[in-house]
């Protein structure tokens, strides 16, 4: 039904599209998924063998398995967008001048986009045997 408001009382001006609802939903959904992804990540990387065991060979070994590739790429996307959107909330809160806010937000999303592309490329085009000469770095698969 069409509602006619008899006396519209100076409604606030709405500028541009409004994604806030989706942003809010996204924070919650991504947060829930990230719990699994991040804790899985932490357990494998920090708990199992400890940070001391992380080296090229470890990473390369992991990424030969498409399971971990998908895992890490998903985590990358979800976490970066979650974090960037969260940072946007914060700049919206505290940046008083419109231009400062705009600049910060654009910077945030550019960085976010760049890192997503970079990270995704790294994980998907990764070649474990990148440097056959560097024998001592290589994961076992290359040997």
């Amino acid at each position: 039904m069409e509602i006619v408001i008899e006396t519209p009382n100076s409604p606030r001006k709405r500028k541009g599209a409004n994604w806030e609802k989706y942003g809010w939903m996204y924070m919650r959904i991504s947060g829930a998924v990230l719990i699994v992804l991040i804790f899985g990540h932490l357990i494998v990387n920090l708990w199992d063998k400890g940070v001391g065991a992380i080296d090229f060979a470890f990473v390369a070994g992991k990424w030969t398995n498409p399971f971990w590739q998908v895992w890490d790429v998903l985590m990358l996307w979800l976490a970066l967008i979650h974090g960037t959107n969260g940072m946007r909330t914060i700049t919206n809160d505290y940046a008083e001048k419109e231009w400062v806010r705009k600049t910060l937000n654009i910077t945030l999303w550019v960085v976010c986009g760049a890192l997503i592309i970079l990270g995704t490329l790294v994980a998907t085009t990764f070649d474990p045997c990148i440097d056959p000469n560097a024998v001592n770095y290589l994961p076992t698969v290359c040997k």
Partner: protein, 248 residues
């Protein structure tokens, strides 16, 4: 009736010394607010409003604050007392920590006009923006019928006295003052969930805004501050859910 019930319940009212630190600001002479201390003798039944009156009436008549009903129903005297928003007329002095001075300052996030008086206009504007009135197209002969359960649905949010204690306790509101704020959402809730109202969608659309419900970070300061005991954060959550559903 028990003998106990006949014994006088107010024994001799105890008196005690307190120091009140009031954040004073008079734009006609001060360039910025300053703290001013007052030593007073108060009694067990006195409220912070009584202390302010004592200062105004006996020490310094220029101290300015709003008040009217003096018993927590008109919403005039929300202020920050010992770091929290409360009504001065509902805060008994004896319930505060008297080993230290009592700090009294204006509510935060609205421009201070003089001493404890702030400019309430942005607050009322947000209230008016959510269309705080029944919108219904039918023209009934008698009263509209509403079941007791439907009436109960929005009972909590009808208690609001527009004191602004909630909105000015909200850390998000403090940041830039653009957020609609809990009080406006509470009053929207009162109509969104009223079965007689037909414009829930309109209000939900208004609050589905950059400055609307999504700015709430569930910090609960509003709920803690509300002198009417309204479950403000719950009301906001219900409005969020309604926006997601697209209807009340």
């Amino acid at each position: 009736m028990s003998a106990e019930a006949t014994t006088p319940v107010i024994a001799e009212v105890p008196s005690f010394a307190v120091t009140l630190m009031v954040r004073r600001y008079n734009p006609e002479v001060d360039s910025e607010p300053k703290w001013q201390d007052y030593d007073l003798t108060m009694y067990g039944t006195d409220r912070v409003l009584d202390a302010l009156h004592k200062i105004k009436w006996e020490v310094d008549g220029s101290l300015s604050f709003r008040r009217s009903c003096a018993h927590g129903v008109c919403g005039s005297d929300a202020m920050r007392i010992n770091g929290r928003n409360r009504l001065a007329c509902k805060t008994l002095i004896k319930d505060l920590d008297l080993s230290q001075p009592i700090y009294v300052e204006p509510i935060k996030g609205l421009e201070v006009e003089k001493d404890l008086i702030v400019d309430m206009n942005p607050f009322y504007q947000a209230y008016r923006d959510i269309k705080p009135f029944l919108i219904a197209s039918d023209k009934p002969e008698k009263e509209r019928i509403q079941s007791a359960a439907d009436r109960e649905r929005f009972d909590d949010t009808t208690k609001c006295i527009l004191c602004a204690a909630c909105t000015t306790s909200c850390p998000v509101f403090w940041t830039d003052g653009q957020y609609f704020g809990p009080a406006a959402i509470v009053n929207a809730h009162r109509f969104i969930f009223d079965s007689r109202d037909e414009a829930a969608e309109v209000r939900l659309d208004i609050l589905n805004d950059k400055e609307g419900v999504w700015r709430c970070r569930t910090t609960f300061n509003c709920t803690e501050a509300c002198p009417r005991g309204i479950q403000v954060t719950r009301a906001i959550a219900e409005v969020k859910q309604a926006v997601l559903r697209g209807r009340a």
